[in-house]
């Protein structure tokens, strides 16, 4: 399960997701297009579930998403935007 890190907010933009880190007053632009939505980080989604959701909505083959998504979520985790920790 992946969720937003504490004190981080996110909103959907036409080009992807805009993350905001309250403690640092900083933003992070993620060009994810229509793949990702803020709800994917509410703590109820698995990576597999997100892949399935993107495939269903966009028609993108799962193998393409599976190649890209872990890198993207890994980057977000390394940037402390999202977390795998259970609250």
């Amino acid at each position: 399960m992946t969720r937003l890190a504490d004190d981080v907010r996110v909103r959907k933009e036409s080009w992807g997701l805009l993350f905001y880190v309250r403690a640092r007053h900083r933003v992070c632009f993620v060009r994810s297009g229509d793949w990702l939505y803020p709800r994917h980080f509410d703590g109820t989604w698995t990576l597999d579930g997100i892949v399935e959701d993107i495939t269903r909505r966009t028609g993108t083959p799962a193998e393409i998403i599976e190649r890209s998504l872990p890198g993207l979520t890994g980057h977000l985790a390394a940037s402390r935007m999202i977390s795998d920790e259970v609250r």
Partner: protein
């Protein structure tokens, strides 16, 4: 394309000048605040605006003025904003704090407080903010310190306090606060004091060096064009007016930037038009999103800074096609023109 060019559905943050009323008469006040303006927004009007901003998912509202704490409904409004989970930053002169205000800040996990102080000594600060203000401001900072309130001291850098920046940093640290420095810009009352208080080229160079060497100093806005690359990477690296930020004035006027409040830059009024409509459609906002000063286009740094702060350029030359007169290229050129050859090399 820079990140800041990616179109946003709403600002990341906005400045809200909640009143023009102020108990001080600082010589550099960007809004020339003194008395409440006729037609300032009511509590109900402000709440309705907050509802719009919450729906648009604006992340942060920075309150200034005027002195926000002199607005009678300011604290209830602040609490209402926090209910909507919007982060706030309150810029105060520190002299109008009440017990209720301190308690409100201490209980609100979403508030940041910034106290303005323009010198490390009464002799310097009081020349800018008024006789006797240094000690009153320090008493205000003392009331806020140690209460787990995210606290910063903000100094507008001028030729008067330029040599006291390290002292100001130490003073801030002694209260558990960080020092934030702002650029002195010639809007509001600062138009009258611009020539005497602005930094000279050598001082701008020294400031850029000092900032480069100390990443703990906060620089909220528009330092990207006067600083070297290492510092620029710590924050926004181009003008965010109309792209990432906007300003609401006390009567509901919306502008791309707090420093650009001349009538021609007014995007609209929240008494008549929804914020989203102004953000999406107003000519003033669209103009700023496409602004690329003609005189900068041949500059080797143009891709990095896009011309710097339009507010400084505009108020100095009345021409938005001119470069920020204090940009790194300009101050480097001024120094090169007046220095011995061995002192000339500098980063551009």
């Amino acid at each position: 394309m820079k990140y800041a060019d990616w179109p946003l559905s709403a600002p990341v943050n906005l400045t809200w000048e909640i009143t023009h009323r102020c108990n001080l008469r600082c010589v550099h006040c960007l809004s020339a605040s003194s008395r409440e303006s006729p037609g300032e927004l009511s509590f109900e009007e402000c709440r309705a605006i907050v509802d719009q901003l919450a729906e648009l998912e604006v992340f942060e509202i920075n309150f200034g003025g005027g002195e926000p704490l002199l607005k009678d409904f300011f604290l209830p409004l602040l609490r209402y904003i926090h209910e909507k989970e919007i982060v706030t930053c309150v810029s105060t002169n520190g002299t109008a704090l009440t017990d209720e205000a301190v308690a409100c800040f201490a209980e609100g996990p979403l508030v940041n407080v910034q106290v303005s102080l323009d010198g490390a000594t009464p002799e310097v600060n009081d020349r800018i903010r008024g006789e006797g203000t240094f000690h009153r401001i320090i008493r205000g900072i003392e009331r806020l310190a140690g209460r787990n309130i995210p606290l910063s001291i903000n100094t507008v850098v001028t030729s008067l306090n330029f040599t006291q920046l390290s002292e100001l940093k130490g003073l801030a640290a002694s209260y558990g606060a960080r020092l934030r420095v702002s650029r002195f810009r010639p809007s509001g009352r600062a138009r009258d004091s611009w020539e005497t208080l602005r930094l000279k080229a050598a001082q701008l160079r020294e400031l850029a060096d000092w900032l480069s060497g100390d990443p703990t100093i906060l620089t909220g806005d528009s330092f990207f064009s006067i600083s070297q690359d290492g510092r620029r990477q710590l924050g926004l690296d181009m003008c965010g007016a109309g792209k990432m930020t906007a300003c609401i004035d006390p009567v509901g006027g919306v502008y791309p930037c707090a420093f650009m409040q001349d009538g021609e830059f007014r995007g609209g009024s929240l008494k008549k038009t929804a914020f989203r409509d102004i953000w999406d459609n107003s000519p003033a906002f669209n103009f700023f999103r496409g602004l690329e000063p003609a005189s900068c286009r041949q500059c080797p740094r143009f891709k990095k800074c896009r011309g710097g702060c339009p507010a400084v350029a505009y108020f100095v030359s009345r021409d938005l096609n001119r470069a920020d007169p204090e940009c790194l290229v300009n101050w480097s050129r001024d120094i090169a023109a007046t220095s011995p050859v061995e002192n000339r090399p500098y980063i551009i």
